[in-house]
């Protein structure tokens, strides 16, 4: 079975999936694309479920001709078609992993994406000509994702929303600090560690106060980073600092 992974810089969803690939023992051809330049919509194979994927900009994995997206579900796919080491067998532990990943995806990722994009994507988009930006947005099939690109280009957020995002990062670190008792979040290393690391690593520079009194979290960040799979994923970087690579992510909950 042939696999091709179109990935962005190793941060956020691309980091999760690259590292999951190396954990899974599966082999894939790698194609680097610039997610911040909208290349998911021009250089990666197109498919309805990829275009409408609500995670926003992330990697595309093509398995036997079918393009697939969503970092957690791609990690689960790689694990389940690979050596099966990234998910607990026990049903309750599996439920805990799903709940943890949903917390990251629904509460933390939209906040991190807002802060990361504001710091690192908005300046790039503002430097583009209007014509070039319209070409980029014109290729996006999901109207709400296109709207998020436009918002990032303007880059103006009320202070209350910025503070709400910083609060969500602080709460995530508090939750992580309270949960960590051994090396990994759920005991054994799972997709929850990868997904959490992928969204939080770039927040250390942007919300430093969240990590200030959190020694267990800091040690965990270093442990995840030191894993061979994560090291290999980070080696796929084409820029000096992949933690500064951001592109429009999931939307902030519009309904409770």
């Amino acid at each position: 079975m042939s696999l091709t992974l179109y990935h962005g810089e190793p941060n956020g969803p691309s980091l999760t999936v690259l590292a999951a690939l190396y954990e899974s023992g599966r082999e894939a051809e790698l194609v680097a694309v610039d997610l911040a330049a909208g290349e998911r919509h021009s250089r990666a194979p197109q498919a309805r479920l990829v275009e409408m994927n609500i995670e926003g900009e992330g990697p595309v994995l093509v398995a036997d001709g079918e393009p697939m997206a969503d970092s957690v579900f791609l990690a689960q796919y790689l694990d389940e078609s690979g050596n099966g080491t990234l998910q607990p067998d026990d049903a309750y532990a599996r439920w805990e992993m799903e709940m943890w990943c949903r917390f990251i995806i629904e509460r933390v990722a939209p906040a991190a994406a807002l802060l990361g994009n504001r710091a690192h994507l908005t300046p790039k988009l503002q430097a583009m000509s209007d014509d070039d930006f319209e070409v980029l947005v014109g290729r996006i099939g999901s109207a709400d994702l296109a709207a998020r690109w436009r918002k990032e280009r303007v880059g103006e957020y009320p202070e209350a929303q910025l503070e709400d995002s910083r609060i969500k990062i602080r709460q995530a670190v508090e939750k992580l600090e309270a949960r960590l008792s051994g090396d990994w979040i759920l005991g054994a290393f799972t997709i929850a560690d990868l997904e959490t690391y992928a969204w939080l690593a770039g927040m250390v520079a942007l919300v430093p106060e969240a990590f200030a009194g959190a020694p267990k979290t800091s040690a965990w960040l270093a442990r995840v980073k030191a894993r061979p799979s994560v090291q290999r994923a980070l080696a796929a970087a084409r820029t000096n600092d992949p933690l500064k690579a951001w592109a429009p992510g999931p939307e902030i909950n519009r309904w409770g």
Partner: protein, 258 residues
């Protein structure tokens, strides 16, 4: 009892219906605790002791407390004997998960916003304002407080209702396309995505007759009818108490052959 299953739920629709239907498909008996969402039963102290977030459904299995409807379904499928409700093929599993997230986080909230603006809000709005305000204050999650406040005081903006309406139209088109490709949603096996989709969409032909009907969306119509006819679905729908819901699902009865 160590292995007893207790489920806290509302009507067998939307989020409550998901674990009810999944458990019935697995053949797992459960003790039913009906909570009336419109009476704010889910924010009362007895229930908050079980689920401090005050969301329904919740399930107790032995000494484990589980919340979040889709995650409960996945737990039930992994934990209990009975027919598998996830396909075995990894790519099929990816599609099933994709659809569940899309419905839970993108399409479902749009249905929910419209449903709350035309049904839930008006159903409770006439009550004593002080009582309502106190009820809102008791809601543990700030996001849910906002949602209830919007529904009760009809604070939805034109823009967000229009966006929800747009999403419902897009979602119906995508479901029809997917069900034309596979017999079931995302795979050729009845799965959690179908259970999830039925709970989200069973009332579509009645609520959105211009968008979902036998001419425009024949695959959606057949899919809903097939799920409606399953013994587990019949069994669970018999547990409903509010006639409004039972009337809506009966719309899926097939016309008797002439």
């Amino acid at each position: 009892m160590r292995n007893k299953v207790t489920l806290f739920h509302w009507e067998p629709n939307a989020n409550s219906g998901k674990p009810m239907l999944a458990l019935a498909e697995k053949g797992v008996a459960f003790e039913s605790h009906y909570l009336d969402l419109l009476n704010f039963d889910q924010h009362k102290p007895d229930y908050l002791k079980i689920n401090p977030q005050g969301t329904i459904p919740a399930m107790i299995h032995g000494d484990r407390v589980l919340t979040e409807s889709t995650a409960i379904m996945e737990y039930a499928d992994n934990e209990f004997e009975g027919p598998a409700l996830m396909p075995a093929d990894p790519k099929d599993r990816w599609r099933v998960r994709w659809w569940m997230k899309f419905m839970d986080q993108w399409l479902g909230p749009s249905f929910s916003m419209i449903g709350w603006s035309i049904f839930v809000g008006p159903s409770v709005r006439a009550r004593d304002p002080k009582e309502l305000e106190a009820a809102i204050e008791r809601i543990p999650l700030p996001e849910r407080r906002t949602a209830w406040r919007k529904a009760i005081y009809n604070l939805f903006s034109e823009e967000e209702l229009a966006e929800s309406t747009r999403r419902i139209g897009v979602g119906i088109g995508m479901l029809e396309e997917a069900l034309a490709k596979n017999e079931w949603l995302g795979s050729d096996q009845y799965s959690l995505a179908d259970v999830n989709g039925f709970n989200l969409g069973y009332a579509l032909p009645m609520a959105q007759p211009a968008l979902a009907n036998d001419e425009k969306t024949p695959h959606i119509m057949e899919w809903l009818r097939k799920i409606y006819e399953r013994p587990a679905t019949k069994f669970i729908w018999a547990m409903g108490r509010a006639p409004r819901f039972a009337d809506r699902v009966k719309f899926l009865e097939r016309e008797p052959a002439a």
